[in-house]
Symmetry: C2
Subunit: 335 residues, 2 copies
């Protein structure tokens, strides 16, 4: 049986969940794809571990200091990288070096963090094309919510006219708490931070950058655009006041942080900002930590998808969906 060796870069909540889910699905991979999938290396920024014949759950409990970096993972013999490190869209973050190294070596990459894809998406796409490697990004574009899958697959053949996305769980939770319970922005944020789903530094989420990055990836990877973050007009929710909330409630409107993509003279444009939706708009029904995407097409009408999975498992499941596609295509190319 052919082997497929997997390495994981970034070993926080998501990376660990990817490892656990991957180990639990080994029988499935054999049954469906005839592939013996082995986890051969994992690392965070400072420590890691590897074993060319395969790591088990207990091997992941203690990592070796200094075992980290792209060369460390490449030398494990991994065929596929799953990158789940911290995101930094202004520099590409630590993921960039891992992804670039794997793709340059003709090995496949499944990417969960957005930084490298936003910063150097064009370079990485070109690199994958040159070396014949596969680059998949479901985990970076909405995780369990299907987004790029809809563009690439469910709506295949359609012309996309418009995309509206509620793609950031934290800001949706905050706005929902403010509009539903009358909670102030600062109280809602403090609660989300205590509950662990808002960052200590919440600016990336609340100022709209996370939504902007996801919309950019949908445009560049799903619609073959070539946009930069600075092409996007980005407004967040940090300046929402109680007076604004009261006004929306009185006019039966629901504020949502919406990433909106449309075309102007055949060029895609994106903006991110609060939109006050009518209460009977489907997107107004997206509650709490749910996310949603609405796509308007030429021939299939309008499709709205709303969803939410428990994290970090849902994001790990999105990454493993990408891994399954790599396993399936390798099966096809061998047979």
């Amino acid at each position: 049986m052919m082997r497929c060796r997997v390495a994981i870069a970034g070993f926080g909540n998501v990376g660990s969940a990817v490892a656990m889910l991957l180990l639990s699905r080994r029988e499935r991979f054999i049954r469906l794809y005839g592939k013996d999938v082995r986890l051969v290396a994992v690392c965070g920024s400072r420590a890691g571990t590897s074993n060319q014949s395969g790591l088990e759950k207990e091997d992941l409990e203690a990592l070796d200091p200094g075992s980290s970096g792209a060369d460390f993972l490449l030398s494990s013999g991994a065929d596929v990288l799953i990158e789940a490190g911290p995101t930094d869209f202004r520099t590409g973050g630590p993921g960039l070096d891992y992804i670039r190294s794997f793709l340059a070596a003709g090995r496949d990459a499944v990417v969960v963090s957005k930084g490298a894809l936003v910063h150097s998406g064009r370079e990485l796409r070109d690199l994958a094309r040159q070396t014949g490697a596969t680059l998949r990004i479901s985990g970076a574009t909405g995780a369990a919510l299907p987004t790029i899958d809809l563009l690439e697959h469910a709506l295949q053949g359609c012309s996309i006219l418009q995309i509206e996305g509620i793609l950031n769980a934290t800001t949706n939770y905050l706005l929902d708490a403010m509009i539903t319970d009358g909670t102030s922005f600062s109280d809602a944020l403090a609660h989300a931070q205590v509950a662990g789903f808002a960052e200590a530094d919440p600016r990336y989420d609340v100022e709209g950058w996370d939504t902007a990055c996801k919309m950019l990836l949908l445009a560049n990877f799903g619609l073959n655009a070539d946009l930069m973050v600075d092409d996007i007009t980005v407004d967040g929710i940090q300046d929402v006041t109680s007076a604004m909330i009261n006004e929306w409630r009185q006019s039966r409107q629901v504020p949502k942080l919406v990433g909106r993509l449309w075309y102007e003279e055949a060029c895609p444009r994106i903006r991110v900002g609060i939109e006050a939706l009518s209460v009977d708009d489907l997107l107004a029904q997206v509650r709490g930590k749910n996310k949603a995407i609405r796509i308007s097409t030429d021939t299939m009408g309008e499709i709205t998808t709303i969803g939410c999975g428990a994290e970090p498992t849902a994001t790990a499941a999105a990454a493993l969906k990408d891994l399954e596609r790599i396993l399936a295509s390798r099966t096809a190319s061998v047979s």
Copy 2:
């Protein structure tokens, strides 16, 4: 450049829309798949036309009486059948012979009508497997609404725990008109018949059989089940009275015709019937001729998709999505 020859069986509204859309996308097929796609034959139950070097729009205006049947289409040299004839789930309908003949000859089939798939799905799946042919059914399982795509692709790797589907536009329109405007069942039905989206004989829709057939196909093709129509408990909306409508309105509930799939001791079970949903349930927001599906999974949480495209174009677009996948896989196997 490699050619791909397509034949269409069933040349009513949907079949004609498939032909028009296919002809309009020929440049796209060349650009994306390097395939010169030719429409080589079309036929209805009594007449058809064929041309091995390709039919144009004007060739479809007058069909030759007697040019019909599986042998007629096979002799056109078609590599792919798109079947869009009338549906009859008790006999398989006219589609069964077309689909069986193409698959037996190792040629691919894209199926829009449900009859043959419901009646003989197991046989057709086995036949395709034996001959290496591809059988795709997006058009038969919700058309533009992604349903089987979600199971096969967007939720790949998940265990499916439950599916709820509002899959029939006519019944959803009727219930919505009754609950929103207080229209009686017979008035709403008469209006839908005049407007052309309810059949003269509406029993297939209003008694729940269309929903049952779609749920069955999702189970058998998307979840590898082996159910028969008679395994499904089917109730329709034909007995809804004004008194029932009033009661639902007073209790702030919304009646929907729901196809529900769940597991009992690892075996999938399906029932179709009216469910009274809370007004804040997302499925209660599915208005008019929209359709929806909600899928509960182990690792990706719950995904709800709601949509509607203008018919018959939306169904034709679903069939051509399946054709594109066939074109893509043929490209892969050649390169």
